[in-house]
Amino acid sequence: MTRDLIQKLHTYAGLVTFVNLLVFGLVGLTATLGSRPHDPAPEVRSEAFVVQPNLTDRQVAERVCGLLGLSLATPIQSAVIQHDAANNLLLDFYHANGRHRVTVLETEGRLRVEVIRNSLWSYLGTLHATTAAFHSGDWRMQLWADYNEFAMWCFLAMLASGVALWLMSRPEYRWAQWSLALGCALFAALWYWTR
């Protein structure tokens, strides 16, 4: 009865968070195989934008964010709001899909927008690291963050329940014993050499 219950929990946890586990695995694999991180060249474009009088920098930032549809970059952090050497308002929005560096050219009535778009793997990497501690202004990202937090705990529960299932069903299975011993020995050796 206990074994059946643990088996159900193990199976259900895996199924309900299957896509998250897939993301974890893919991100880990691409982290190993990926090249040295670098910023690709940005795409640069202009957008018409008139700054209303008497707005604060933050209010301008919020309007720009809304105009460009950057809900994933909300809430706007203070570090986003900067000024360049010519004292133009410079907004540096980071988000899961990359980065938008926006220079507000108030006298010209336009925005200079530099877009650096993350690769799909970088995007998934950002998603895999987003948990409930993260507070997003975009409800989709917040929902993902909460679900990913749940997936993280399911992952740990699956490790524990998986070991329990092995010990309850086939503890004498030699391949399993050797696999565990080899894996632990490898981890211990690498840990020791690193420390």
């Binding site: 199924l15 695995g25 991100v27 995007y123 993280m152 399993a176 696999s179 690498l190 840990w191």
Partner: protein, 185 residues
């Protein structure tokens, strides 16, 4: 076929267990830093090296500190660099005039090392042990995918769990996929 894949699922999971525990525990630490903060221990000392070194690699070799050479800053008569390995950072300030090297070692402890190992990536490091870690963690990630695939098969072959499984997979997987695609576009 069922028994073979069950054996693969079990053996892969047990081989990867220590590494997966590292990932899982460090994920909790990173997500909830107040529950388990990284406590750093800092030690400092000075070493006398030959004077006149202008190449950080030469100074690093002379110090014989293990790690990846990083954050090199060269200024007239001085070198600054770091030797980094998971959990430990050595910051070095070297004076070419006197040959004195001030070393500041920051040890992030057990939590910090788990944290750093979780973030190891790439096979392009100058410090070979980092490449070894990265390769092994890549194999573990592949193992996780194998566990996912075999786990899916094992579930599907269990007729009594099939329908509830479809609901859970559809609901959870569907939600996750929709969010991933929607936020990307």
């Amino acid at each position: 076929m069922y028994q073979k894949l069950r054996n693969v699922h079990l053996s892969a999971a047990l081989f990867c267990l220590a590494f997966l525990l590292m990932y899982g525990v460090s994920a909790v630490q990173m997500a909830h830093r107040r529950w388990w903060p990284v406590r750093e221990r800092v030690t400092e000392w000075s070493v006398r090296l030959p004077a006149g070194i202008i190449d950080a690699r030469v100074a690093a070799r002379a110090l014989a500190i293990r790690g990846e050479l990083a954050a090199i800053r060269i200024s007239p008569g001085a070198l600054r660099f770091r030797q980094v390995r998971p959990g430990t950072v050595h910051q070095v300030e070297y004076s070419a005039a006197t040959g004195e090297a001030k070393v500041r070692a920051t040890d992030a402890g057990f939590a910090g090392m788990l944290n750093a190992l979780h973030q190891v990536q790439g096979m392009w490091h100058g410090y070979p042990l980092l490449n070894v870690w990265s390769a092994v963690l890549g194999i573990v990630s592949l193992g996780l995918l194998v566990m996912g695939g075999t786990g899916l098969y094992l579930w599907f072959r269990n007729h009594s769990e099939r329908w509830i499984g479809v609901v859970l997979l559809g609901a959870g997987g569907g939600l996750a996929l929709i969010l991933i695609v929607w936020m990307r576009t």
